[in-house]
Symmetry: C2
Amino acid sequence: MLSRLARLTTNAELPVLARFDLTMWEYVVLLGLGEGPVRTQSALAEAIGADKTRIIHVLDTLQQRGLITREPDETDRRVRLVGLTPTGRRTLHDSQAAIQDNETVLLNVLADGEQRRFLRNLERLYEAAPDLLG
Amino acid sequence: MLSRLARLTTNAELPVLARFDLTMWEYVVLLGLGEGPVRTQSALAEAIGADKTRIIHVLDTLQQRGLITREPDETDRRVRLVGLTPTGRRTLHDSQAAIQDNETVLLNVLADGEQRRFLRNLERLYEAAPDLLG
DNA sequence: TATTGTTATACTCTATAACTATA
DNA sequence: TATAGTTATAGAGTATAACAATA
């Protein structure tokens, strides 16, 4: 049930992201950087539930388009400090708003109080899942 | 959030299903037949949110293992009536119980009343999604 | 030796279109 | 011609292992 719902919502969101010239993983990476810069690409990958090898091409693209910065750390030159540029932050803000408009269509199936409750519970499960399920 | 939660739970459930020698799609097909036989494979595929071409190999396997029947309809020999055998029904029952045990671990993150509420809302969204999102 | 980032590759999953048999 | 089922194939998504640079 969860899987199918995720697939349907994902497919419905792809055209919205396309308006911002973003793939799903590019959007997820921007979201992962929204709270602030991240010190290693591995940490970023883990935070968004992706493989570290998979986001590399995503980071390449986002960097080329000037949406993120990827600077070597001076104290440990193996790691790259990744963060949003002002353009990247604006793109994240705009696309996130569009996505939320889209989600509202579905969430309106639920009564107003239930919407907030559902999202809160979903978030709680989302946070607990990695520890409980590996 | 939904996608990652779905992926985590799916991955956590695969070992459980493996104990019954079932893949995820085989399990989903058995679930789709749980309420009763289905008159066409296309209808079954659509009901579980799959492509009609994808479940064919699944049906082949389940039939070979004696978990489902797949009889040609006498009035229209193009269509196949698909249903569970007694063995199939038992396998579904047992595997479903094991899966639910597994899900309980995660759902226990939520308070008792919230669990039921979350599942009810999830079901409501699940049912509305195909119409609203395509 | 261990770790970060990268590349290459193989594997799985999914979608699409073409084929058959019935109607 | 249209539909149910099937097959084949190409594409996307994913996981794994090997590699270079740095610690």
